[in-house]
Amino acid sequence: MGGSASLLPREALGEYQELTFLSKQEILLAYKRFSELLPKEERENACSVRVPKSQILKLPELRANPFQHRICHVFSTSDNGDDSMSFEDFLDMLSVFSDSAILEVKSHYAFRIFDFDDDGILDRKDLEKLVNCLTGQGEDSQLSNAEMEQLIQNILEESDIDKDGTINLSEFQLVVSRSPDFASSFKIVL
């Protein structure tokens, strides 16, 4: 812990603490885990290096997650679309998934993660992909077409308020605010 603290400048630490929902220990732990993903030579200036997506997906917290690709895509600020993450992207992600993040922030990012085609609304295709992610890959673990239709119908009935066949951000946030399990399941702790 002492070794990595000396590598992360104190002003940066204070800044990160103010900008995210993470505590000092959590930021230091995140720094340690992030620099472990880098090859030895680049560990000195971990703050400015981007880690490729394949390395990020090796983290145990993301390894078994069906939304791993969407998470990397949403939090990555890379210009060339390769979904690589810098240390600040990584902190951003951990901050949203931390225990102390507020519900509005979590639901905002959950909406972006579930929006598979990035068009700002959850339409039928997004919901279908979402359900297939939940039930697992493989032929026999997917719902049949009729079941999928029925399920999407029920979801839209419960959450689509303006009856336009899609769920926008405010409808999603309303539904999630009434869901008792969301806050405890939408959480990643290192």
Binding site: G136, S141, N154, S159, S185
Partner: protein, 541 residues
């Protein structure tokens, strides 16, 4: 049980701590009732006789503290204190059963509260399952696979239940008639199957009792053992076949999946517990079968059963041992070879069979069955709970090893909280069912005059009135007053009033909950109205 009954007897018989004992004198009874010569082993015996005795509770085991017949002491004296053994025996049995009852009720009340809360129709259940269903903390791929499967199963069951509800609502009169008549027909088949089981158990018990009481001269060791164990074998077969039949039949009855599971479980439970009941009933019919006058004077069949409580205890002991052997045998000879076969042989039919699934309900039913035997048998065989404890200890570790190595997780993950309450209810039914035979044997059937602590009493229960008579007169009067009508009737009325009050309170709470729910629905409708107004206002600038 051990500390109050067995320990004093052992101490008194061996004269430790300056104790002595007085054998209960058989008074007011005919002489022939009291003749009891346990067929202990005399002279040179073969080694396998010991094995046979261990397995069937006869011979050298008969006169040990395992069975009722050992406790012939009426009172034991420890220095100055007089220890009333018959009373202690009776009260220890009651205390043991009462403690079990209290403990089960306490656990099931907690489960009941949880069940009630979860059972209410969840508000937006689908959105909750889909948007908040995945636990982002899962890091292990195996756990992830299980979670995927349980999510898939939950979504599919919910969708199926909804489809079924719609189908039931859409049913025409003709279809309803057809379904109900089919269900009645299948229930008749179920009752027929049950009667078949009961009858076969009755015949098996009668046959076993008749043939094992003849003087067998160590001729055919295996045949004799088999005859002794015949009731246990028949019961185990019935316990195995009946559930298969039931789960086959229920597919025709067109119930919702959750209800199907519960109904099959209830039927299997009924089969298991009623089998024990029929065994006991057939034993009693044999014991009280009296044709001669001499027999009637004793009250029970003294020729065949000079010490009938030991006989009942022996049957319970055999059931328990056989249950244990079967579980061991199934684990060793079915599960492990199956696992070896599946991993090493890759031919189609073997792979299709696959590994056995771990059925939670089956295993729980086995445990409940064993525990009911233990409860019934405690009065007749005081060391039975100790044997049961050792047995469950061993079974737990064997099942654990077998589960980890040879079983695959069930394809239908069961909801833990609601099933917990259900299994506790079934255990309670088992306990209540255990009270019935005990009550009948203690209060109705005359106790053996030839053995046991209740020799000087008519029935086992008679020791309590006898003790009460020995209390000081003040206490006697109080006890008599409590038992009299002048006290019982007002007490009963007060209890009824309290019950009516609680029912009314529960009804009022339910109405409040419904009102609150309506309010919630109204609130959401108001919100929808406002949002629609806002979107309209936004559209027209």
């Amino acid at each position: 049980m051990f500390s109050f009954v067995t320990l004093p007897s052992i101490i008194a018989k061996y004269g430790i701590f300056n104790s002595s004992f007085a054998e209960s004198p058989p008074k007011n009874t005919e002489l022939h009732c009291t003749v009891y010569t346990p067929s202990g082993n005399q002279g040179l015996v073969y080694f396998y006789t010991y094995l046979k005795d261990l397995l069937s509770g006869t011979g050298f085991l008969e006169m040990t503290s395992l069975f009722y017949g050992y406790y012939t002491i009426d009172a034991a004296w420890f220095s100055i204190l007089r220890y009333n053994l018959p009373l202690a025996y009776l009260l220890a049995t009651f205390a043991y059963l009462a403690l079990s009852l209290l403990w089960i009720i306490k656990r099931s009340v907690e489960g009941f509260k949880q069940n009630l809360v979860h059972h209410e129709d969840q508000f937006q259940s689908y959105c909750n399952k889909v948007f908040a269903g995945w636990d982002f903390c899962i890091t292990d791929p195996n756990a992830a696979r299980l979670k995927h499967r349980s999510l898939q199963y939950e979504l599919q069951t919910d969708l199926e239940e909804e489809r079924l509800k719609r189908k039931i609502a859409d049913r025409t009169m003709k279809e309803k008639l057809r379904i109900y008549s089919l269900r009645i027909f299948i229930n008749i088949i179920v009752i027929a199957v049950l009667s078949g089981c009961f009858y076969s158990i009755y015949r098996a018990t009668v046959f076993s009792q008749e043939n094992s009481n003849k003087d067998v001269g160590n001729k055919n060791f295996q045949a004799n053992l088999f005859v002794q164990y015949l009731p246990s074998v028949v019961i185990t077969l019935a316990n195995f076949i009946a559930p298969q039949i039931f789960s086959f039949l229920i597919t025709f009855e067109d119930y919702s999946p959750a209800f199907e599971i519960r109904l099959t479980l209830m039927r299997c439970v009924f089969v298991r517990l009623a089998n024990i009941g029929v065994l006991l009933f057939s034993l009693w019919s044999q014991i009280s079968h009296c044709t001669t006058d001499k027999c009637k004077a004793c009250g029970y069949n003294y020729e065949l059963y000079p010490c009938w409580e030991s006989e009942v205890g022996r049957e319970m002991y055999k059931l328990m041992i056989f249950d244990f052997i079967i579980i061991l045998a199934v684990t060793l000879f079915v599960d492990f070879p199956r696992k070896l076969l599946v991993t090493h042989c890759s031919c189609k039919p073997v792979q299709w069979c696959g590994l056995q699934e771990f059925g939670i309900s089956d295993n729980v039913l086995e445990i409940i069955y064993g525990q009911t035997i233990c409860w019934i048998g405690t009065f007749f065989s005081p060391l039975l709970p100790a044997i049961a404890t050792i047995k469950y200890f061993i079974i737990f570790y064997i099942k654990k090893i077998s589960l980890i190595h040879t079983r695959k997780p069930a394809a239908r993950p069961i909801r833990a909280s609601s099933s917990n309450f259900f299994f506790l209810v079934v255990l309670l039914i088992g306990l209540v069912l255990a009270f019935v035979p005990l009550g009948i044997s203690i209060a109705h059937i005359p106790s053996s005059k030839a053995c046991g602590p209740f020799r000087s009493f008519n029935t086992s229960w008679a020791v309590v009135p006898a003790t009460v008579l020995g209390f000081p007169t003040g206490l006697q009067q109080v006890l008599h007053a409590i038992a009299s009508e002048a006290f019982a009737v007002p007490f009963f009325m007060v209890i009824c009033l309290i019950m009516v009050y609680l029912i009314a309170l529960a009804g009022a709470h339910k109405r409040v909950v419904e009102q609150l729910r309506e309010q919630l629905a109204l609130e959401s409708r108001d919100k929808l109205f406002l949002i629609r107004k806002i979107t309209e206002a936004q559209r027209c600038p």
